[in-house]
């Protein structure tokens, strides 16, 4: 019996790989868009505008404090009531991008705040504009604090992307759900799903660890 299910599973491999490709696509697009948006929000949060600080802060707290499943349901099932009809794939991308941006925003803001105040003063005193300061003095130094947790966040988002299966996106989790109906061996099927996620996440975990070690070394002493 066992071997029968195993062979069924092996036959379904192409199906899983299609799902894996979908997971990579959804995660990949959301990570890129989320990073851009997250950096933008993070930078804005460290500027002087108290209004924007609180506005972005409220949104970020809301998104970080509610389940992603609920968020994606709202986008896919409830927005149509307000006249906004989205297909599953765009709904997934928008929700996951937003989720990523909110977490990345906080990582970036913390990184910028970790740059010593004196650095910003020295740059200001030299006559550099705010934008030049950010680009040449602050961000290069902030990246040391930002990079390790940023890559860690990427791993979390890839795993969070499994939620998009709930609105019908044919990712690798959904492939698992569909397969388990024909191959009623939950452990085998979802072990495979887990392995596939692990394959894409593990390199990033290693990268995050490597970055943490590398960045930790560059501390000035005077």
């Amino acid at each position: 019996m066992w071997t029968y299910y195993l062979t069924q599973l092996v036959h379904s491999l192409p199906f899983f790989l299609k799902g894996l490709w979908m997971t990579v696509a959804v995660s990949g697009i959301s990570l890129v868009a989320g990073t851009i948006l997250g950096f933008l929000w993070g930078i804005i949060r460290t500027r002087r505008s108290k209004f924007l600080y609180h506005l972005i802060g409220a949104w970020v707290d809301l998104i970080r404090g509610t389940p992603f499943l609920v968020q994606i349901f709202i986008v896919f099932f409830i927005l149509p009531e307000a006249g906004i009809h989205l297909d599953a794939f765009p709904a997934a991308i928008i929700s996951l991008t937003n989720l990523g941006a909110c977490f990345i925003c906080e990582i970036v803001a913390a990184g910028i705040r970790s740059v010593p105040w004196g650095q910003k003063e020295a740059a200001t005193a030299s006559g550099l504009t705010q934008l030049q300061q950010l680009r040449y003095v602050v961000m290069p130094q902030a990246m040391k604090t930002i990079l390790p947790p940023l890559v860690g966040q990427y791993v979390l988002l890839i795993k969070d992307s499994s939620v998009v299966s709930a609105i019908g996106v044919m990712d690798v989790t959904r492939a698992g759900w569909l397969t388990v109906q024909r191959v009623p061996q939950g452990l085998m099927v979802f072990a495979l799903v887990g392995i596939l996620y692990f394959i894409i996440c593990y390199p990033l975990i290693r990268l995050s660890n490597l970055l943490e070690k590398k960045m930790g070394r560059g501390t000035t002493s005077f």
Binding site: P116, S126, G127, L128, V137, Q141, F222
Partner: protein, 242 residues
């Protein structure tokens, strides 16, 4: 060059600058001393608007610093600032530190800026350290790079906020030497410091501040040997023991 007219500043309830009236001429070296919390650092930081004033007028090189319409990048290009904590950019070499502002603010071509940067670093005695990172330099060397960084902008004024206070004693002299040479060349300088030897030799005038006010201001001969104010006498007696 620098004119303070009826300047006031508060940090919340603290009256940190109280009716400051001061003028510094081009080519003059003014040393500002005084006890901790007297407002001397705040005073110097107002000149390039790292701090802003709340009342009065502050005119630097003909530009109204207190006016929000003044282009601060234009003003700050003419003022070099040396911090007590050096504040060198740790991710850049000495040469990159000193050429950043000239290339981005004065829009000088990179090659030209690097050539000029090399010369200034030579001048402060660090010609062989142009490719070193701040972490590889001693405190005295870092501060000299910081001075070079200010000088590369060819400013009209150099401001020093306790430039030697964070240095080990054996490195103080190398920094004061550079400052002495600068003064000889006719640079307008305002220096907040406790180095009274430097003040005696190099300053045109010495000012003492206490609780936000300029208590006394006079040429060093007068200031050190015959101060008029009792508080000046008290302060000098405390710090001139060695």
């Amino acid at each position: 060059m620098i004119i303070f007219r009826k300047v006031h500043k508060w940090f919340g309830k603290l009256h940190v600058l109280n009716d400051i009236n001061l003028a510094v001429d081009a080519g003059e070296v003014l040393v500002v001393c005084g006890p901790s919390g007297s407002g001397k650092s705040t005073l110097i930081r107002c000149i390039n608007r790292l701090e802003s004033i709340q009342k009065g007028e502050l005119i630097v090189d003909g530009m109204k610093v207190h006016d929000f319409k003044t282009k601060m990048t234009k003003l700050r290009a003419e003022i070099g600032f040396v911090f007590q904590q050096f504040n060198l950019y740790p991710h850049m070499t000495a040469l990159e530190n000193v050429t950043l502002a000239p290339t981005k603010v004065r829009k000088i071509r990179k090659q030209e800026a690097m050539e000029a940067g090399r010369q200034v670093l030579e001048k402060v005695g660090l010609g062989d350290k142009i490719d070193s990172y701040p972490a590889q330099l001693s405190g005295g060397q870092q501060q000299r790079v910081a001075i070079a960084r200010g000088l590369c902008m060819r400013p009209k004024i150099m401001l020093f906020d306790e430039p030697t206070s964070a240095l080990d004693p054996e490195m103080i002299n190398e920094v004061l030497e550079v400052m002495r040479d600068l003064a000889k060349e006719g640079m307008t300088m305002v220096v907040v410091t406790h180095e009274m030897g430097f003040a005696r030799e190099v300053a045109h005038r010495v000012a003492i501040m206490d609780v936000g006010q300029v208590i006394e201001i006079a040429p060093p001969e007068e200031f050190f040997s015959n101060p008029r104010n009792e508080r000046t006498r008290l302060f000098l007696s405390k710090i001139l023991r060695h």
